[in-house]
């Protein structure tokens, strides 16, 4: 049904992948870490793109999935000794998945602005719970833990170095990208896109729109939770700040800046945003958001398709 992507797509894909894999070998330590962070935030933004770009639902609550992924990983790493990487990922996904089921059940009955507000409110509910439940979540201080070693296929691997962690994240992100790309091109993804284009008509054709939306939210939530897990493992802590809705706002910014409905656009948006922030905060400290907010607002007005919007067609083939 879908035409096969042209070889040029895979050539570019391989080149970008090779560049990202080689990046930590040539970059100084600070930028190594930075590159890894871009990949993680990009993964979070891509998960949100399933909703924003493909289903036409703007989620302002992705911090809840991300944060629960972090706290899920934290739960595994704090309670289970010795710390296990895969158990952390499993717990993180379970945490985010639970929240996603909850949000999906309630929020998908609402549309447009109401969906955006309800996701925002749900994420704030989880924020307040995590912030005030000090005995379990550590409250404002969050939880700290040690980094689990990399184990693969039962082999007891070495501890992560920044370079191997970058490769680990790159592998997870690449697999996630390919999986999400496959999903968006599947018949299921086509239904999502038809919901974006015309919901009443999709319903009239006979698709159970709510069910498709629920699955889309859950899928999106799982990948967001995966990003949260990776971030927790990288930074060895989980903090309530990452459940706060400011993070959700940043996710939306990444999508708009990079280009919604492209899957790679959010990565470009995350890179653009984080680089701008890094550059601007050097001499503007915390006021970097003033020029950044202006740039964002101007992009919403004049470049609504984002940085990679011009390549949308080519990227979705």
């Amino acid at each position: 049904m879908t035409p096969r992507p042209p070889t040029s797509y895979w050539i570019v894909f391989a080149i970008v992948l090779a560049l990202l894999a080689a990046a930590p070998l040539v970059l100084p330590p600070f930028w190594q870490r930075f590159a890894t962070e871009i990949l993680i935030w990009g993964l979070l933004a891509m998960s949100s793109d399933i909703l924003i770009g493909y289903t036409g639902m703007v989620s302002f609550g992705h911090s809840a999935f991300f944060g629960l992924g972090m706290y899920g990983a934290a739960a595994a790493l704090v309670t289970v000794k010795p710390p296990s990487l895969w158990l952390a990922v499993l717990y993180g996904l379970a945490g985010a998945g639970l929240v996603a089921v909850f949000v999906a059940y309630f929020a998908t009955r609402l549309r447009d602005i109401y969906f955006a507000i309800s996701t925002l409110v749900f994420s704030q509910i989880f924020y307040v719970i995590i912030f005030t439940w000090t005995e379990v979540t550590g409250g404002e201080n969050g939880l700290t833990f040690s980094q689990p070693p990399l184990t693969l296929f039962g082999l007891h691997g070495a501890r992560f170095t920044p370079v191997t962690f970058h490769w680990f994240v790159l592998a997870v992100v690449t697999l996630s990208y390919l999986a999400v790309r496959r999903v968006t091109q599947s018949p299921f993804g086509m239904v999502l896109q038809s919901i974006r284009e015309n919901e009443p008509r999709t319903r009239a054709i006979g698709y159970h729109v709510e069910r498709y939306k629920m699955v889309a939210v859950m899928l999106s939530g799982l990948f967001a939770g995966l990003a949260g897990t990776l971030y927790a493992i990288q930074n060895k802590f989980a903090a309530p700040d990452f459940v706060f809705f400011v993070v959700s706002g940043e996710v939306v910014i990444f999508n708009v800046m990079g280009g919604m409905g492209t899957l790679v656009g959010p990565f470009a948006g995350a890179a653009f945003f984080l680089l701008l922030r890094e550059g601007l905060s050097r001499f503007l400290t915390e006021y970097y958001l003033i020029p950044l907010g202006i740039i964002f607002t101007l992009m919403v007005m004049f470049v609504p398709q984002g940085l990679l919007g011009f390549a949308r067609r080519a990227l979705n083939r």
Binding site: D112, V121, F122, Q124, V128, P304
Partner: protein, 286 residues
């Protein structure tokens, strides 16, 4: 028992302030389909402007007036430069654009006024005995003043010539245009009125808890809850919902900590959206 009475009065006072914020937001939504994410930040800026004017002149009422005028002009500027070009685009674009504006305004306030809490001193001093508490008269005065502002707005919308223009534009934009109402001007004016009301409530709220640059996002969220619970674009519903939500939060604060009491209003919001998406305080649509 006395706890309940005290919390009822607290809830009513907070509810009146929130009603002023929310009625500005609902007016803007009702007429332009714009979900203004920067509304709370306009309130916060209003409070800062008020605090500054109060610091210079020492006159609270002048501060209230100047803050409303300054923020109304800022509202006009924002509407003309950012929101007017977006008319006719997906309503979600306006959420994104006002979200961007909100970021800028918040950090601007931090840059201009710093991270410390500004205190606005009360224009009405004195307290009266309420059970074991000395309850400040200012809170009661605030509720009355907020009621006056809302009442004024209601009278203006009901009987004023321009108020009728606004209501006509809310009902049917195209028809209003055809009858010779300058719809783009009405949009700008409504945004200015909404901004002025946000600023006024910011100054009124200032003496309660002090002015910080983060109070904006808190109030944006609360105003959203109120506007949805009351029915989007429904002025009377928003006012009732503001009082309702504030009362519920005040009672909840008796049982759990105030930080957790917020969850109760979130739950009210979600239940409303699921079962009465047109709003709690409107007749069931036919």
């Amino acid at each position: 028992m006395d706890q309940i009475v005290i919390q009822t009065i607290n809830g009513l006072v907070n509810g009146m302030v929130l009603a002023v914020v929310a009625s500005g937001l609902t007016l803007i939504f009702g007429i332009m389909d714009i979900v203004n994410f920067a509304h709370g930040d306009l309130m916060m800026l209003g409070a800062f402007v008020g605090a500054t004017v109060l610091g210079i002149t020492g006159n609270f009422w002048l501060a209230l007036f100047v803050a409303a005028i300054v923020i109304a002009m800022l509202g006009v500027l924002l509407q003309v430069t950012t929101l007017r070009p977006l008319i006719g685009r997906d309503p979600l674009t306006t959420i994104l654009a006002t979200f961007g504006i909100s970021l800028v305004l918040q950090k601007y306030a931090l840059w201009q006024w710093g991270p410390t809490v500004r205190k606005i001193s009360e224009p009405v001093s004195g307290q009266f005995a309420l059970f074991h508490l000395q309850y400040p008269w200012y809170r009661v005065a605030t509720a009355i003043l907020a009621g006056l502002i809302i009442g004024g707005l209601w009278l203006f919308l009901k009987y004023g010539k321009y108020g009728i223009w606004i209501r006509a534009t809310t009902q049917d934009r195209v028809m209003a245009q055809a009858m010779g109402i300058p719809v783009p001007l009405v949009h700008t004016a409504v945004f200015a009125i909404g901004s002025a009301m946000a600023a006024a409530s910011g100054v009124l709220f200032g003496p309660f808890a002090g002015v910080t640059q983060t109070m904006g996002s808190d109030f944006t969220l609360r105003a959203f809850i109120v506007v949805v619970v009351g029915g989007m674009g429904n002025l009377g519903g928003s006012i009732l919902a503001a009082i309702f939500v504030s009362l519920i939060e005040a009672y909840a604060a008796l049982v759990v900590s105030p930080a957790q009491a917020v969850i109760v209003s979130f739950v009210v919001l979600v239940l409303t959206m699921l079962f009465r998406p047109t709003g709690l305080f409107v007749p069931t649509p036919k």
